[in-house]
């Protein structure tokens, strides 16, 4: 097996073009497990977590968007200054693994693995992130919604590298919650990200671990938008159960050795209700309760 450490983006892309079957290695926290368990084999590895272009991030004040390089780690995402741009991504980052894992694991790796349980992914889905891909043939941008085609399957082509993701910097509440069985090193049984865009008057709810890919809950979002007063930061409390029920209905969970579909659906209902209540802590004045 050959292992090559790339130091620039061009170098990485050249290496991938020369060996399209090569496997990209970032933090290795998914890949090394798969290789060790024999779930995956590879003859060539291109290591990208020292590539400067992937290790950087940029806030564009004009569009008020944040571009995060693929090799930015969870440890970096959970602290200032990045945490200020996306509180939900920071929250999700804090729930990942252990300090050792968060120091190594990258957002690009989370996106690349495309596990329905990936903690960063519901946030990217809620924020309508764009994934940036590059190869020697050029670059392309893929909406996160179209990036994963199934559990651990993506649109990334041989020779292509994830260079980063771009998310909007929203004004409004953002929260990420997951149900897991212990306080650290826990894979989500079910997870949800809620993001409110106070300026654009939208509420976005994305669900993890309850479908082959990360899901949105459009009906629930509509219920919330109709019931919310974005200026006052209030919501009609009667809408909250309907919102939670619609979120649960949007989930497409399965029974497996970690949990049952029924419990996962229930967990989504609870997480959604709690997130919406946190987003709009005060009821609309005069609303029936």
């Amino acid at each position: 097996m050959s292992v090559t450490v790339a130091h620039t983006l061009d170098e990485a892309l050249e290496l991938l073009a020369a060996t399209p079957s090569a496997t990209v290695l970032a933090g290795g926290t998914d890949l090394m497990v798969e290789l060790n368990m024999g779930h995956r084999r590879t003859d060539a590895v291109v290591c990208v977590n020292r590539v400067g272009e992937l290790r950087s991030w940029r806030h564009d004040p004009g569009t008020d968007t944040l571009r995060i390089g693929a090799a930015i780690t969870y440890a970096e995402l959970m602290d200032a200054p990045l945490a200020g741009f996306s509180p939900a991504l920071a929250q999700a980052a804090r729930t990942v693994g252990s300090p050792q894992i968060r120091n190594a694991a990258t957002i690009g790796g989370n996106v690349g693995t495309a596990s329905p349980a990936g903690d960063g992914l519901p946030v990217l889905r809620a924020l309508d992130a764009v994934v940036h891909l590059a190869s020697t043939a050029g670059t392309r941008d893929v909406p996160f919604a179209e990036f994963a085609t199934g559990p651990k399957r993506t649109v990334v082509q041989p020779g292509e590298l994830i260079t980063g993701v771009t998310i909007p910097v929203l004004n409004g509440f953002q929260g990420y919650s997951k149900v897991g069985v212990r306080n650290a090193m826990v894979i989500a049984t079910a997870s949800a990200c809620l993001a409110v865009d106070t300026n654009g008057h939208t509420v976005r709810l994305a669900l993890g671990s309850v479908g082959p890919v990360i899901l949105r809950a459009p009906e629930a979002e509509t219920i919330a938008v109709q019931a919310a007063d974005f200026e006052a930061g209030t919501i009609d409390p009667e809408a909250i159960p309907a919102f939670a029920a619609a979120a649960a209905a949007a989930a497409r969970p399965i029974d497996d050795h970690r949990s049952t579909a029924a419990y996962r659906r229930r967990a989504i209902e609870v997480l959604s209700r709690r997130l919406l209540t946190r987003a709009f802590p005060a009821p609309t004045p005069g609303a029936s309760s």
């Binding site: 252990s98 149900v179 069985v181 212990r182 306080n183 650290a184 090193m185 826990v186 894979i187 049984t189 050795h257 970690r258 949990s259 049952t260 419990y263 229930r266 967990a267 609870v270 709690r274």
Partner: protein
Amino acid sequence: MTVTEPAPTSRFVRADGPDKVTGSGRYAADLTLTGVLQAAFRYADVTHGRITRLDVEPARSMPGVLAVLTAADVPDVRYGPFVADRTLFARDVVRFEGEIVAAVAATSAEIARRAAAAIVVEYEPLPIVNDVEAALAPDAPLVHADWASYGAADPIVRDRNDASYASITKGDADAAMADADIVLSSRYVADASHAAPIEPRAVLAQWEGDKVTIWSSTQVPFDARAGVCETLGLPANRVRIIVPHLGGGFGGKCGFHVEAHVAALARAARRPVRLVFTRREEFVVPDRRREGMVVELTTGLRGDGTIVARTGRVIIDNGAYTADSGFFSQLAAMHVAGPYRIPHLHVEAHLVYTNHQPSGSVRAPTAPQACWALESHTDELAAAAGLDPVEFRRRNVVDTGSEGPSGQTYDEIGLRRCVDAATAAAGYGRDLPDDEAIGVAVGWWPSFTAASGAFVKIDGDGSAQIVTGAQECGTGAVMTLRQLAADELGMSPDDFQLVYQDTSVAPYDMGATGSQTLFNNGRAVVHAAGQVAEQLKRLAADHLEAAPDDIVLADGQASVAGTPSRTVSIAELAGIAAGGELLIGHGSGAPPSAPALVGSSCVGDVGMAAFVAPQFSCHAVHVKVDRDTGVVRVLGVSAAHDSGTIINQIGARGQVEGGVMMGIGQALTEGTRYDDAGRQRNPAMLEYKLQTCADAPPIHIDFVEIPTPDAGPRGAKGLAEAPNVPTAAAIANAVAQVVGRPVRQLPMTAERVWNTLTGEDGVS
């Protein structure tokens, strides 16, 4: 006397600590030898099947492979400490997924694994026994068709899939039950769980002529040696087991496992051979899984809440072979009887074969699950009697002078004081939010008596050694032996080096099992050190021209009592001794005998109904239940223990903390799940959720130290297993208070708690 803070004199640093925390300590997997080969096993492909074809040629012909072994290449020996139902390699039939069919030694681990996979095995499928209750049906398929022909230890009562039946009977339970004012029945089901030591086991074997040295990560080197001798037909003095640093055991490394396989490979290959388990193998292969259990209990009360009768039935999942599990039936029966005064009792237990991984001693075998069932039942009884659960226990638990369920009368014991201490520390009875509660459970555990030996010597320069058969598995118990020898000889613990974990150097000890190191080997060390003390006193008496009886050993000096100026250092005496009668002591203090049982009768009696130096405990656990998701958080644990005198406070507190954390894991997040064929569905750290540091609640510890007549050195009883007994039970009782009724399955996962909250647990 209740001690909560470590006494300053007993604060000493473990000798193995710096090695372990700096990473310089060497474990079995770190060792290597010139020319070493790597081993791999081929495991059964089915959980129950008759081997119709076994072709090892594809492995043997692979370049780099130097030995391939199957049942045909080793002596035809069936072994097992209680029932001889096991062979080194599968003979004709495989009975669980981790059964070893063949072994390979090759120049690299990769080649060995590939070769093992290349072996061709074909099976005729046999019916799979996957349900421990169904296995007891008269027409159930047999896991061992030839069970009746197997040898077994005398007291073991067997019938078909029931590998060991035990009952304890006292009085007339049925008649008393008929007269009781309140009768309540409960049923509880506990999943199997695992010891999960951080170090997966590793074995390295090397032959020199007809002698073999085996480095093994075992908790019980003498047991491992006995297994090698029995299965390979060798005398004990040609097998030497050495244990490097052990990366934890929790019972999972008790018993004899794969040492003989590796030794046999090394002999066949004429090269040293090394085997290192993967985490998956550590989960699936050893006969050391904590047994799954079904418990049914009925208890009769008088109107005032006094227990008058109990009947109980325990069904224990033995798995495919009987490891040390032969004593589980009687021990489980004792644990569902519990430390209560019960005039009329009939409890019975069956140890039942299935096509699962075999069960074996994991920290306090049978006790946490049985205690969980019993103590949940006890809270139900208290509610039925209209009594507070703690008050109910105060009325019914055994105390000094009372008769226990098996007809044993207890000397000084501290169970009530444990209840007082744990509930006081937890603030039991204070107001809590609706979603929080404090649950209380009591537990008990015997001290195990066994033969055990040690040597103590002081060399010419005055430095001392303890050469002991005892095994350190991380508890610090062996380290504590230095303190006992030091006190006996008036020296400091730091004056002693330990030589241990080598069967060819030290006398026998049972190993790091049964919480027995200090209890039994401590006695041996005191005995051996006492002999050296006598020698020193004689030498000092000559030197100082005094009577030996007047010599006092203290602070590294021998002096004449009352005349401190007449003194000689122990080092100087050692120098004198070096020219003549060497300073050597040997000890194997006589173990205390089992207490008498009066008025009870036991079937399948393996000596577990009489508790020598019984240890008692009470845990009070404060939990918070998320009613929406069923997620349980443990906010605090108060643990009170009567383990007699605490000799090493730091070590003892570490044991309680570890036992509590293991109990929380068993209570909430661990648990093995099986598929339809009896294969484990979660044999990996990702899916088998142990507790992490981030989950650890504050743990308050009280030791209730009272004099115990039949205890070990200085009144110490065992301690390592006891803290694992009542934690899950106390958590269950707290959860049941919040939820409104008990969760009848262990672990009480979030989903099961939620099902109970919503009434979807399928039990009323």
